[in-house]
Symmetry: C2
Subunit: 427 residues, 2 copies
């Protein structure tokens, strides 16, 4: 993975980072790196996540996956960081013959019903994931899935693998029924857990190359150092921060690879929940190239200069030639391939934004494979930790979501009414 | 459909709209309404879209759908406005036994290959959609699909239905092979075409109640009038505009219904491509409740006050009770249903943002059904047209995407090199 930051400089973009400001920022990167390395070395909460390529409990993952064995469907019951990592790995890396992953990360009755209706539960495994063992959506869905299995005559204790903390009621459940289980490691917040048991177990059930994934992450880990000019991860975090404080209040994550569409969602959680506090934080916006050229590009190029666009390009793609055409005006497609067309669109869009002075960064991967995806995910985590240091926020907590959680519980218990603000209805 | 704008007022939110400013804005709404009605009456480009519930060529849709008959798969080859409307209708309204819709709206060779590999082409229909008949991505994919059909021994001329303008090479192709076809109506830009042949044909192939959809749109049309206080559509457009100019530079579209997840993407195109010009335009951000409470809510509540959050709630949902639990701490779930939990989360999140002074609007639908979805889609189109008048932009064009399109063609032809801005690589 490498990163081109040229189109984020003030010589090209407005807002843009002057070259001398980048040099000065590099001193802060060096200090932040020192802080981060100390946290990593001491296994401090959150920072410990950056140890994962080495500390992940791959043996436990393998044992649990072996106990489940071959299935056609994996139903992942989890939400937020308990779901997005697995979904990202599945969409990027699961082969065409892998089990199908169904993520129940919402409590929409219509969607849950439809998902369960179209799965043969006799050939399905369930992975229920909640660090605390108390997440309302996850436990509600798990109870519904368990019931559906009973209705289908399937023994749920035979098909359920639990991912949770060392204590709590999901741990008790696993113990009571001798379910295969893995532990969420200490010090790893959900949104940083993709390279832990949380992401690796469902990946293993889908046959993803988890060793390659961790090797890629380790390679990115090796590149962290005291200068942004030597580390793509830190360069990304530093530039995103520097552009935000200059007015790019959004970061559009726009991979040119459908397999990375869910990666953009994973990134959006990482960025929003880690940095969105104290009135600060850049808003992540998920996009997909080339599709969103026909939806969002008009705004990106001609709208306010309030966003950074991050492109993700890919060197190696499958070769699918475009057949020759009996249609007029298509001479330029003859001899091209779908991948060639996609790459040309990326290059043209990057140039189009640069010409309009819209700041953009380009992440380039060798391929959408386990090593490159591991490197990408680890790099974005490190970028986020660095950005958190530069903003001076508590990167690893998420206090603002508690109010609503407690309020929702109160509403369901019937012991709370809400002041829903003002009401002015237009009917 | 009704709209609650109370939490967008200055009494609750910052930024918020003072009540007297809203009264003054209503004078501008009256003037804009007059302009819009004139455009609609004269069938002017773009404005003509608001005539669609009455002018849509449903007979042509029915004839074309009948010629295709029953299939298990519908492959829609189109991009942007040629795809998002159909995808929105399919995800919101297709029944569990409907044909499956596969949208090829990108030229990623890995994704196209995988999609074609897992479809039985003998039971598939192809709907190729391009107004101009020259869209590079669409034609490239169509050529690949046609080839795959030939390889599978399927006569593509027997399974292809064309949606295009009155002239151009797709029209010629349809004529040459006597393919079933429908015409994209005059005066309707792609992002406003969901209620035309463009959206209705694939919907009909999936058995969607297109009459109900158009009836819902007509009901919304009836509600347009000279005051935002009488029209949810205009109230939405006016408030989004008024909040943007006061600092809410993003509009987070967050339906609490998985079936409306694609609606948020459709909205994002409508909003971005229509209003993102002349340095103006609010950036649409797609979200999904309750899932994104565990991903984005921290930022929305505790980050900068630079966004409006639009909730979409639903009155009637399927009843899926949450089974009673042998797990501790879940007493508050007993007797509840998944829908009840989802609604409680929406109410709590709305109150949580109001308490933090984050501006939000709430759209409430009767159900995720054809009438309500028709009303919603039409209302958002009218809201967008109104907002365009208030911003004073050319709502119906998208000039900024042309530069990149031409550059990509030049790259493929090999007769163009790009100035890709500056380069500073970090490896």
């Amino acid at each position: 993975m490498d990163l081109d930051v040229g189109n984020a400089l003030a010589a090209v973009a407005e807002p843009g980072v002057p070259r001398d400001a980048l040099e000065r920022l590099d001193d802060r990167v060096a200090a932040a790196h020192e802080r981060i390395e100390r946290g990593v070395a001491n296994g401090e909460f959150g920072y410990a996540s950056l140890n994962l390529p080495e500390t992940a409990d791959t043996a436990a993952v393998e044992t649990a996956a072996d106990r489940i064995g071959d299935v056609d469907h994996v139903i992942l019951v989890g939400i937020g960081g308990s779901a997005l990592g697995a979904a990202t790995l599945a969409d990027a890396l699961a082969g065409p013959d892998a089990a199908e992953l169904h993520v129940l990360d919402n409590v929409d009755p219509a969607a849950v019903e439809r998902t369960l209706d179209r799965i043969d539960l006799a050939s399905a495994a369930v992975n229920v994931v909640s660090q605390s063992g108390t997440t309302a959506e996850t436990l509600a869905n798990f109870l519904v899935v368990r019931d559906a299995m009973a209705d289908a005559g399937v023994d749920w204790t035979d098909r359920t693998v639990v991912t949770t903390g060392d204590a709590g009621n999901l741990r008790d459940l696993a113990d009571a029924h001798d379910l295969p289980s893995v532990s969420v490691p200490d010090g790893v917040p959900g949104r940083f857990s993709v390279l832990s048991t949380v992401g690796l177990l469902p990946a293993a059930l889908l046959g993803v190359d988890t060793d390659g994934l961790l090797a890629g992450a380790s390679a990115a880990r090796e590149k962290l150092g005291p200068s942004l000019f030597d580390s793509p991860a830190y360069a990304y975090g530093a530039l995103a921060y520097a552009l935000d404080v200059r007015g790019a209040s959004m970061d559009v994550m726009m991979p040119y690879a459908e397999g990375l569409e869910t990666f953009a969602e994973w990134f959006a959680q990482l960025w929003a929940e880690s940095l969105g506090k104290d009135g600060l934080g850049q808003t992540p916006v998920r996009a997909l190239g080339a599709t969103d050229q026909h939806s969002q590009l008009q705004l990106y190029r001609a709208g306010p200069h309030d966003k950074l666009v991050t492109f993700v390009g890919v060197d190696d793609r499958p070769d699918v030639p475009i057949p020759s055409a009996d249609l007029e005006g298509l001479d330029y497609l003859s001899g091209a391939s779908l991948g060639g067309l996609l790459d040309a669109e990326l290059d043209a869009t990057e140039a189009s934004l640069a010409a309009a002075g819209v700041p953009n960064l380009r992440v380039q991967l060798d391929a959408v494979d386990a090593e490159s995806v591991g490197e990408l995910l680890f790099s974005m985590e490190a970028a986020c930790v660095l950005a958190g240091e530069l903003y001076g926020v508590e990167t690893f907590d998420q206090p603002a979501v508690e109010w609503g959680k407690e309020a929702a519980r109160g509403l369901l218990r019937g012991d709370r009414t809400l002041d829903e603000g003002d009401s002015l209805e237009v009917e």
